[in-house]
């Protein structure tokens, strides 16, 4: 398995002491959910940080309008509706599709952005029977050709429709985080998929929501950039959560499609939270763990080398990879 990594190398360490940093927060709506932009900055930069957080939120909304499947006029849905075998795609959509390809490759096919038909069937409450789901890989093959800059084309089999809901939010969070590189630290929370950059000496705490409706959190992940900490000085992180308890459309219908059956995954994992090197990677791994179920999922996450993972099972147990404990409050 090729490890999923952050989109860019870590920025060079800065030497801003903790005492001078303030956290400024901007909350908005995007991608059909919450969007939180948090900036760690020297105390005198509060106005600039607030302004930049708003600008980044606007950029995320613009990107999400390109990638949404909920608007028939979005570039993604125009691609899905295009009858041609080969279609030119604009840079943002091309980059997101490229990430979808990487995520599929790195999760052994468990993350599959071409399962729109199966997902729509699940959302209707009547998932496709397993026998009718696509069984041959040739049916879903697609190819992205990047020629000259801004001249990418995609070639796919007839009937292939893309759904970036499962891979887009973490990717957008990472992309937005880089827009805030001028600040010592920042967090982009794209509806629960979180990209984090920690300033030396600073701390970010990420709560893990308990989906059972209690006010308590399942856990709190503490991220620092200390060289002797559990992250060994790493500054860029991703935390993402995936699960089956929010998007439910019937007793057996939820939104996480198992590409091995074409149906909602039959799993004992209600929710998986993964700590990885980027939000995009964390999202892909969390989704894979839910699809695989607890036993195979924990094994998969262990081999993938994620920094930490917490799985809530349907019997109420919350289990973690052993190395996760070093990050928990």
């Amino acid at each position: 398995m090729a490890a999923l990594t952050a989109h860019r190398p870590e920025p060079a360490a800065t030497s801003v002491p903790t005492t001078t940093l303030t956290h400024t927060q901007h909350e908005a709506r995007a991608m059909g959910g919450r969007l939180g932009i948090h900036v760690a900055h020297p105390a005198g930069d509060a106005d600039a940080a607030a302004r930049d957080a708003r600008l980044v939120a606007g950029r995320v909304r613009a990107w999400s309008r390109i990638l949404t499947r909920h608007d028939p006029t979005s570039p993604l849905m125009r691609l899905n509706a295009d009858p041609r075998a080969t279609v030119p795609v604009r840079p943002t959509l091309a980059a997101a599709l490229r990430w979808a390809a990487d995520a599929g490759e790195s999760t052994g096919g468990l993350v599959d952005a071409t399962r729109l038909a199966e997902r729509l069937a699940a959302e209707s409450g009547t998932p496709q029977p397993a026998a009718s789901s696509r069984a041959t890989v040739a049916d879903v093959a697609w190819r992205l050709d990047a020629g000259k800059p801004r001249n990418t084309t995609i070639t796919r089999a007839p009937g292939t429709s893309f759904d970036l809901d499962g891979v887009g939010k973490g990717w957008l969070a990472d992309r937005a985080l880089h827009l805030l590189d001028r600040y010592p630290g920042a967090v982009v929370d794209a509806d629960g998929d979180v990209a984090v950059r920690v300033a030396p000496g600073d701390t970010w705490e990420i709560g893990v929501e308990d989906p059972r409706g209690t006010a308590d959190l399942l856990a709190v992940i503490v991220l620092t950039a200390e060289p002797d900490g559990p992250g060994r000085g790493r500054r860029t992180w991703g935390v993402a959560t995936s699960g089956t308890s929010v998007h439910r459309f019937g007793p057996e219908a939820h939104h996480l499609i198992d590409p091995r059956t074409g149906r909602p995954a039959a799993t004992d994992v209600v929710q998986a939270t993964v700590l990885a090197s980027s939000a995009a990677a964390a999202e892909a791994y969390a989704k894979s763990a839910v699809i695989l179920g607890s036993a195979a999922g924990l094994d998969f996450l262990d081999r993938a080398g994620v920094a930490g993972a917490i799985l809530l099972l349907e019997d109420g147990r919350a289990l973690a990879l052993p190395r996760t404990s070093a990050f928990l409050a």
Binding site: R143, G147, L217, V246, A318, L321
Partner: protein, 126 residues
């Protein structure tokens, strides 16, 4: 005044011998350039393979797409490589069984503390 092309000719001394024909340097230059490019390519490939993490244990059937260079092609074929066996099931022919070695730890309830400003959750949470 008429200037001659060569001071020697102008002085009326013996004729200067025609310069020796030197070999055309272009083929060698091309050869050096080609071998240099090949060496650089091999070096970059070596560095790239060394940069892969040690956890890259599962072979991949398709080449990993490059990161956005010119003329690169991302070929995507969805091949699911993970099959979870239910009790009593047998693995597909040729499959490698990877028994779980992970001993998961129960998650302790976090100590009471102020709710963090950032909370990860399933998307679409009301």
């Amino acid at each position: 005044m008429v200037r001659t092309a060569s001071p020697a000719a102008a002085s009326g001394n013996r004729a200067i011998p025609s310069p020796r024909r030197r070999p055309d340097p272009r083929p060698m230059r091309l050869a050096f350039a080609a071998s240099g490019a090949a060496a650089l390519s091999a070096l970059l490939a070596l560095i790239g393979s060394a940069a892969l993490p040690a956890t890259a244990a599962v072979p991949t059937a398709t080449p990993a797409p490059a990161a956005g260079g010119a003329n690169d092609v991302a070929q995507v074929r969805h091949i699911v490589r993970y099959v979870t066996l239910a009790p009593g099931q047998l693995p597909p022919t040729g499959a490698t069984r990877t028994p779980s070695t992970v001993v998961a730890a129960p998650v302790a309830t976090p100590k009471p503390r102020p709710r963090p400003a950032v909370v990860t959750s399933q998307s679409g949470r009301p």
